[in-house]
């Protein structure tokens, strides 16, 4: 609880500071792209990960509901990553699985597997702004970060959670994105995303994502063990906790395709 309050505290500071910036600093697209490229390149070469994750949904009154997920991710060099999410709870959706190929230039390819009817269903990806598993994360928040999906704009430096950060405004290229823009707070030392503000199509602040409890793996790759998405308009929030993550497990393309989707556990 104390931790939560601290996060909220720093969030408020971050927000008030960021509101002052646009007037004071000139936009710099080249610098924005440089920061984003550095962020992307520092997080490349990890090959694959297998993570067991707990997702906690909280409604405006604080009522919680939990679900367990297993997430397999495979890095692809020139395209977006592949990921396979297997639902372990609640019990009625156990064995259901979601397969996503994040593409850089074309819309993502997504499929859902329904174990009860043994059916693989293709999903219309234009609806990327829809909620993922009733959470505050949208489908588009769950796909990998790709440079081609945004236009970047560096808006200045700031401080967040006692760390020096770059503030980069990123505008989704896809007109079907649910966001007009996102403001990313990236720490200057490791180029990790610490916080992101999401603005809806009307330009109002919709959600804030706080990424915390970063741990370093294989001396190169930082992963946040807590990611919490706050919906600023409804008061609901969703926290994702990584309980356990393994790198370079030897996943292959054939472990993340429509055929393996049917036998995901």
């Amino acid at each position: 609880m104390l931790e939560r309050k601290l996060v909220f505290g720093s969030l408020l500071v971050g927000l008030s500071v960021s509101l002052l910036w646009p007037a004071a600093v000139n936009a710099d697209e080249a610098e924005g792209l440089r920061i984003a490229t550095e962020r992307k390149s520092r997080n490349s070469g990890w090959e694959d990960t297998v993570a067991s994750t707990t997702m906690v949904l909280r409604d405006a009154r604080g009522k919680e509901s939990e679900r367990e997920l297993r997430v397999y991710t495979l890095e692809r060099a020139d395209e977006g990553d592949k990921s396979l999410t297997v639902f372990e709870s609640p019990a009625d959706v156990k064995g259901a699985a979601f397969l996503s190929f994040s593409n850089t230039l074309t819309p993502d390819d997504q499929w859902m597997y329904l174990p009860k009817v043994k059916r693989v269903k293709r999903i219309a990806t234009q609806n990327k702004s829809g909620p993922f598993m009733s959470s505050e994360f949208a489908y588009e928040d769950m796909t990998s970060f790709e440079l081609e999906k945004f236009k970047f704009d560096y808006t200045g430096d700031d401080e967040f959670d006692d760390q020096e950060v770059f503030v980069v405004e990123q505008t989704p290229v896809d007109k079907y994105s649910g966001y007009s823009k996102q403001i990313a707070y990236i720490d200057q030392e490791h180029y990790r995303l610490l916080k992101m503000d999401f603005f809806d199509k009307k330009g109002d602040l919709l959600k804030t994502l706080i990424l915390d409890d970063y741990e370093l793996y294989l001396d190169a790759y930082w992963r946040p063990h807590t990611s919490e998405m706050f919906n600023e308009q409804t008061g609901k929030s969703t926290a994702m906790y990584i309980n356990d993550i393994e790198f370079k497990t030897g996943l292959k393309d054939s472990d993340l395709d429509k055929d393996s989707l049917k036998r995901a556990r």
Binding site: L57, D59, S65, E66, S89, P90, A91, D92, V93, K94, T106, D109, V117, K118, R119, R122, A124, T125, Q126, N127, S129, G130, P131, S134, Y176, G178, K252, S254, D257, K258, D259, S260, R263, R265
Partner: protein, 402 residues
């Protein structure tokens, strides 16, 4: 499946699990359901009741080894019905050994396979027999004994199936609703093949994703899962007998899905040949989904599918020239609430239509309820829905997952 077979299979799995190391991980899960059906009209036949309670249990045992590349799933099923002796039944939904590798998959045992893309009809999907006493929409299937191998290539997945045993469709009994004048009598089933249930069926399927397209082609040669009805005797002489007649068939099927923005276009088409019939049938349409309607978190999906069949209307094939419209309402709440409304109109006869509502939501992590409603309209005895014209019903299920 005879009880002796079930016992044999149970014994076999017991032996299998004992022959693996003691530290092996076995997962147990399952679902227990209480179902209450309420019929909205007085029954057409005196033996039938207005309300019907039943219980089901579906435990599942899962065991894997070799890093999950080998696995056995055992999923028996049983329903006990208050009145209907035929609806009280047991089945092995799954008892399957699966061996997976990078480029192939091998399966042997009893299981379920789904083929196709459309929602309102499943023409292409012919591997499993329909467990027709379970649900009116025909979505519940009996376990099919099979050996199958899939070869997974860049150019798609090719699967071959050999099915050594045929499962008869289940039909409501004397005291069950949703049946014709007299129950369809499975004990007097007639087969075209002299091997009867032991006829060996074959199937082959190719499935591939090509960008925004999902493409499937299939061929099936074996016993038609959908029987014809043979009529013996007469109602006047009190010896009317309806016997299912299972013919041999060859069916070519194609299924297609195209993603275009928020729209999914779906199509299934078949050509089926039996000794008595040779015909085309097809179903095609779209599903369009809007997320966050009216600034809410709700998703609304619109479905429309047109159904075409060269055959005349019949009890098993009512979709000659029919249109289905549907609406899927997804709440995106933590309880996973969703409601599906559907309406099917026969375009040849305005008085023939049916409607359904299927709603479900979680109560806790382990408890879930569903409320389904099915409504039929027909006014002439030649109508496919005529036999079920008084069987409109609501079905409430409470499910416990363990």
């Amino acid at each position: 499946m005879k009880l002796t077979n079930v016992a044999g299979l149970l014994l076999a799995t017991g032996l299998l699990s004992q022959s693996y190391p003691v530290n092996a991980e076995v997962e147990y899960s399952g679902v227990f359901t209480v179902e209450q059906r309420f019929f909205l009209q007085d029954a057409a036949f005196p033996e039938q009741a207005r309300a019907q309670t039943s219980l089901t249990v579906t435990p599942e045992v899962f065991y894997d080894w070799n890093d999950g590349y080998d696995r056995i799933t055992f999923k028996p099923f049983m329903r006990v019905d208050q009145y209907d002796d035929e609806r009280t039944h047991a089945d092995i939904r799954e008892l399957m050994w699966l061996h997976a590798a990078d480029s192939y998959e091998f399966k042997a045992g009893i299981g379920k396979v789904f083929w196709g893309q459309t929602e309102s009809l499943h023409l292409v999907d012919v591997i499993n027999q329909t467990d027709a006493v379970e649900r009116v929409d025909g979505e519940e299937k009996l376990g099919q004994p099979m050996v199958s191998a899939s070869y997974l290539m860049e150019s798609g997945a090719i699967s071959v199936f050999v099915m050594p045993y045929f499962r008869e469709r289940t039909f409501a009994g004397e005291e069950g609703r949703l049946r014709p004048l007299v129950p369809i009598n499975n004990d007097n089933a007639v087969y075209e093949s002299e091997d009867e249930q032991q006829n060996i069926d074959f199937a082959i399927r190719w499935q591939q994703t090509l960008g925004d397209w999902e493409v499937g082609l299939s061929y099936f040669d074996g016993t038609n899962r959908e029987p014809l009805l043979l009529v013996d005797g007469a109602i006047e002489t009190n010896d009317l007998l309806l016997r299912p007649y299972y013919q041999q068939m060859q069916q070519v099927g194609a299924d297609l899905l195209w993603v275009n923005g928020a729209m999914l276009y779906k199509l299934e088409a078949i050509h089926r040949k039996t000794d008595l019939q040779s015909f085309y049938a097809a179903v095609g349409g779209f599903e369009y989904t809007t997320v966050g309607v009216f600034d809410s978190v709700y998703d609304i999906g619109w479905l429309m599918e047109y159904q075409y069949d060269e055959r005349d209307n019949s009890f098993f094939a009512p979709a000659q020239n029919d249109l289905m419209v549907g609406l899927r309402w997804v709440w995106n709440d933590p309880d996973g609430t969703q409601v599906l409304f559907g309406y099917v109109q026969d375009l040849d006869d305005t008085n023939t239509y049916s409607g359904f509502v299927e709603a479900s939501s979680r109560m806790t992590d382990n408890w879930k309820f569903t409320i389904n409603g099915y409504f039929f309209s027909a006014d002439s005895p030649t109508d496919p829905y005529y036999v079920v014209r008084r069987d409109d019903h609501l079905e409430i299920n409470v499910e416990f997952f363990f």
